[in-house]
């Protein structure tokens, strides 16, 4: 019986597994790299073992260290999560060899499916539909273009290339090999017929050690960027009862063919004619498993643990039912408007209201998004009686989420969930080619919303100023018996600068301007963190948080990140220019520069001797020497100009 479970993984999936383990009374052990020392999943576990280093190759991919950690903590089972060592048959075997329970399929099954090539052979033999493929570049013609270069050991889109002509083939193969080699430690790639814009539909299967294999229905994961799924749902809008049954049977046959045990996913491509073909089988719990959990009411991690413990699948899993619709989106730290460029940084705020959606995340406010690991911040999943309702609920929860400090694909996800073709069920893998990500990912907040947020930021700063005032804090904000001008606050955001001016009235009405535009503003309540205001007749609440000069604002209209501009410009640069004078009377010993020379800040320019001591006159800032007015041996009075520094070019340009 499993009493203490080590999760050989990190982030959200570690937390996900811990949650069920805790519910089942099983003690939990985390492993963590140095980069994850303060991560929430480490705190979530009862115990944790450090894996020195930060790179995956030094930490989460080190089978030996993970097994040693399990031993050290006294764990009796290992759950691999997804990614990392989850589909590594050698690791699975080592776990078993160490006398631990492996929460996953038998190493043989992993091995069989791990080689995509071998798997395809096996599937063809088992009567599961497959696409034509080839293992050699020479076989490309047989496969036909377009084709896909795929890593045999891969998953998650890494090591994958679409090739549309023979000319591109060689580069693509090399690139895929390189990527596969570094990601999976196995550079083998193969060629496969590429179906243009198919749907990506997969079947969740579950098998126990008592001969039961069931299909837990499909998930559709067609909307992808760079072969990474970002929206996943169950049921698929394209799958009806009959197709579901056919695909389920094929998936169960696939699992049986490899003697599968535990949770697995059989991935298919589905074309417009409802023809499907086997792509690969993932021998682990999938990232997108929550949508299946929500429509079936099953806890897949619980089933994994039961099966690993040798129990048969419970009745509810053997005769599963499907109710309602679930949609999951993957919230990534990336810039959808700039080619999905990964983003890093510190999450100043990370708060998604879980009242109406499920949030699986390894991050929280204050977490650092590092370049070491996958930039997925969270999976947000909505469940509702219908697909449209789920989409609406999910879009609403995302739009209201407070996420600051790191660029995310949130706005893109919200727009997809409300987009016509998506809502009509028209999803395929080319969705993001038809719909420009830069447009979908543009800020949800429009100009009017930005003005409201700038006002909210100003009101929150004002409230903060009053709350922290050392004297007269309870007096009305900015009170004047003879008001001559408004209070002013200058903000900048990614789109430029914005100035808010305001004069507080007696009754909450505020005479406000944003830039030069007058605004009809009533402030019902303003604290440093929440501003309740009516702008142009509409009352809204804006959440505001401040971190130094950074002011983040969220409302139903979207989010803003403003920087508070200082009231007084930094004039240090200006101070540096001008004349350098003798600090006291003396004689010039050395002149170290010539007119026209460029000097660094602190560079000695002239050495004086006075009262038997040498004094060095140094450049106050980097810049050019305009003039040298003295020469060695010359006597100078105090205050005599020695060197004239040129105005720095940059100073004028500012």
């Amino acid at each position: 019986m499993i009493t203490k479970l080590l999760v050989a993984n990190r982030g959200e999936i570690a937390r996900r597994v811990f949650r069920t383990a805790r519910a089942m009374g099983i003690a939990t052990v985390a492993v963590y790299s140095d980069a994850d020392a303060d991560a929430p999943f480490v705190r979530d576990a009862d115990e944790a073992v450090r894996l020195p280093g930060a790179a995956p190759a030094d930490t989460y991919l080190r089978a030996d260290l993970v097994i040693a950690a399990a031993k050290a903590a006294g764990a009796d089972a290992v759950h691999p999560g997804y990614g990392f060592l989850s589909e590594n048959a050698t690791f699975a075997q080592s776990v078993l060899d160490a006398g631990l329970v492996w929460v996953g399929p038998p190493p043989g099954a992993i091995e069989a499916m791990g080689s995509k090539l071998g798997a395809k052979e096996m599937m063809r033999a088992a009567g599961v539909p497959t696409l034509p493929w080839a293992t050699e570049v020479a076989g490309a013609a047989e496969v036909g273009f377009p084709l896909l270069v795929k890593a045999s050991a891969g998953g998650g889109g890494r090591g994958m290339r679409i090739v549309r002509s023979a000319a591109e083939l060689e580069d693509a193969v090399e690139g895929a090999q390189r990527e596969a080699g570094s990601a999976f430690g196995d550079a083998t790639v193969f060629l496969e017929r590429y179906v243009e814009a198919p749907r990506h539909v997969e079947i969740q299967v579950f098998a126990d050690t008592h001969g039961n294999v069931v299909s837990l229905f499909e998930r559709e994961c067609s909307i992808q960027r760079r072969h990474q799924k970002i929206v996943e749902e169950s049921p698929s809008p394209a799958v009806d009862e009959a197709l579901r049954a056919r695909m389920g049977e094929a998936a169960v046959a696939a699992a049986r063919a490899v003697g599968y045990v535990g949770a697995g996913t059989v991935e298919f491509v589905l074309d417009e004619k409802n023809e499907f073909a086997f792509l690969e089988m993932n021998t682990r719990l999938q990232v997108e498993h929550p949508v299946t959990e929500l429509v079936t009411g099953l806890d897949l991690v619980r089933l994994q643990l039961l099966v690993a413990d040798g129990h048969p699948l419970p009745q509810e899993a053997l005769s599963p039912t499907m109710t309602g619709a679930a949609i999951e989106v993957r919230l990534y730290a990336e810039d959808a408007t700039r080619g999905f460029l990964p983003a890093t940084g510190t999450l100043r705020a990370f708060d998604i209201d879980e009242a109406h959606v499920r949030v699986d995340s390894g991050f929280e406010t204050g977490s650092v998004v590092s370049p070491h690991y996958d930039p997925m911040l969270a999976k947000v999943i909505a469940y509702a009686p219908s697909r449209t309702e789920a989409a609406t609920a999910l879009a609403g929860a995302l739009a209201r989420a407070r996420i600051h400090g790191v660029t995310t694909n949130r706005d893109l996800l919200v727009r997809i969930l409300g987009e016509e073709e998506f809502l009509a069920g028209g999803t395929d893998t080319a969705y993001l080619e038809r719909h420009e990500p830069a447009e979908l990912g543009a800020p949800l907040l429009d100009d009017a919303g930005r003005r409201v947020h700038a006002l909210a930021a100003a009101m929150a700063v004002q409230a903060h100023n009053r709350a922290t005032a050392r004297v007269l804090a309870a007096l009305p904000s900015g009170w004047r018996n003879n008001p001559s001008q408004s209070q002013r606050i200058a903000l900048t955001d990614a789109t430029g600068s914005v100035e808010v001016s305001y004069l507080m009235g007696r009754d909450g009405s505020v005479a406000a301007h944003v830039d030069d535009g007058e605004v009809e503003l009533v402030v019902h309540d303003a604290s440093p963190s929440l501003v309740d205001l009516t702008v142009d007749g509409v009352r809204r609440r804006c959440a505001v948080s401040r971190h130094g000069d950074q002011i983040d604002v969220d409302s139903v209209s979207g989010s803003s990140e403003f920087r508070l501009e200082p009231r007084f410009p930094d004039l240090d640069a200006a101070h540096s220019a001008g004349s350098l004078v003798a600090p006291m009377p003396g004689s010039v010993v050395r002149v170290l520069v010539e007119a026209g020379a460029a000097v660094e800040a602190g560079q000695p320019l002239v050495v004086l001797e006075a009262m038997k001591m040498e004094h060095t006159v140094a450049a106050p800032a980097a810049g050019g020497v305009a003039e040298v007015r003295v020469q060695a041996g010359q006597q100078v009075e105090a205050g005599a100009v020695l060197v004239v520094m040129a105005e720095e070019e940059g100073a004028d340009a500012d």
Binding site: Q462, N465, A469, L475, W479, N481
Partner: protein, 532 residues
Amino acid sequence: MPVLPDRVDRDAPEYASRRAALLDLLAEIEAQLALARGGGGEKYVERHRKRGKLLARERVELLLDPDSPFLELSPLAAWGTNYTVGGSVVTGIGVVEGTEVLVQAHDPTVRGGAVNPYGAKKQGRASQIASENRLPVVNLVESGGADLPTQSEIFIPGGAGFRDLTQKSAAAIPTIALVFGNSTAGGAYVPGMCDYVVMVKERAKVFLGGPPLVKMATGEESDDEELGGAEMHARVSGLADYLAMDEADAIRLGRQIVRRLNRRKLGPPPAPSYSEPLYDAEDLLGMIPTDLREPFDPRDVLARVLDGSEFDEFKPLYGSSLVTGWGSIHGYPIGVLANARGVLFAEESEKAAQFIQLANQSDTPLLFLQNTTGYMVGKEYEQRGIIKAGAQMINAVSNSAVPHLTVVLGASYGAGNYGMCGRAYDPRFLFTWPNAKSAVMGPAQLAGVLSIVARQSAQARGKEYDEEQDKAMRELVENQIEAESKALFLTARLYDDGIIDPRDTRTVLGMSLSVIHNQPIEGRRGYGVFRM
């Protein structure tokens, strides 16, 4: 705690009419404030701006902590005179780096910031407030010195300004000068006497004599920069402690200096928490009669001024024409004396004298709410010693050592003005409502008294009294006294620290109390309290 009731009938017809009348008065005041803000007028404001300079109030606003309050003092000084309303200088109390400071700023758009007799008086009052309340002084200097045509009114008394600066310094009250432009001749002593001096590069000019005067005096050729430029004073004479690159930089440096003054308030801190009044201050506009013959209950005012509308009335059954009692404003304890029905009798006077002594025993500041027509006259009262009773009250007020605040809510006539801590009794602050009037007596009474005296004089000389002329004289006198009793007339002459919107009474008093607490609060000791 006893809570004052809400007795205002907002649906009564006089509520609306009183409110309308007061709003008219406030609009009249606002029009004058707008003139004061306008300084020397559009042309000079424009010229000043074109030179890249900030206006006086813009300098003040940039100096203050964002969103903090600012109480401008005597904003309507010189109203109704030949001088620009406001007296060519801005004075007030504000917060800089969490420190309450007194700010003075010349208005260079009015005759180059030259100091006229009203400006001088206004600065003198501001200086007194700074000294009495231990407020650091920040001078925003740009002034051509004395307004020469009126030098006779300024020159000799004006010297006190420099003496005051050094005496403040001696009392460890910091003085700071930020010099934005001319500060020449006598004006040069302002930076000269201040603890800290900041000068704006290429703008500040500080010298005793400019190039023409030097040429005349000694024949020496010189220019402005050599004689008094900011660079020269920063590098050579040492008169400037800081060289500012521009006006904003000077203000930044001024703030930096205040931050390092490490000011601590010496008075007790306010209560950490307290309630706002239960009733809306807006009601005050509808409550207050503009006809001073109609009395009103000051408890209705207190209900909109005191914390939680809580008021512990002292001796409520005795001398009921004067209300006395305890409360607090913005967490600061206060003793209140307020006229209820205008006239002060012997009982009211004795009650006041006793209450003032009690406040001194408990080191509690006092608030006088004036609405008095004076001490009662008449045979009965004279024979019962109303003078002695009034003298007790005036004696107590004069020798009380706790800080006093006075607000003139309505009438302030006769010796009632004195007993209720009028201007001559040096309350720390005195503010006036726009409907208030003050004079030795009411206009009609004064005219009537003159008429009686004239009639008696005519009779004594056996002459016929000219009734027509008497009527004309009475009208003339009544009009003159009426005009000279007005709040605007009084504020113009610095007989108060400003006219305030009644709705701001709590705010102004809260700010005044906070300012007062920069000093320790210590009452007069000596005899025990005389039970009157």
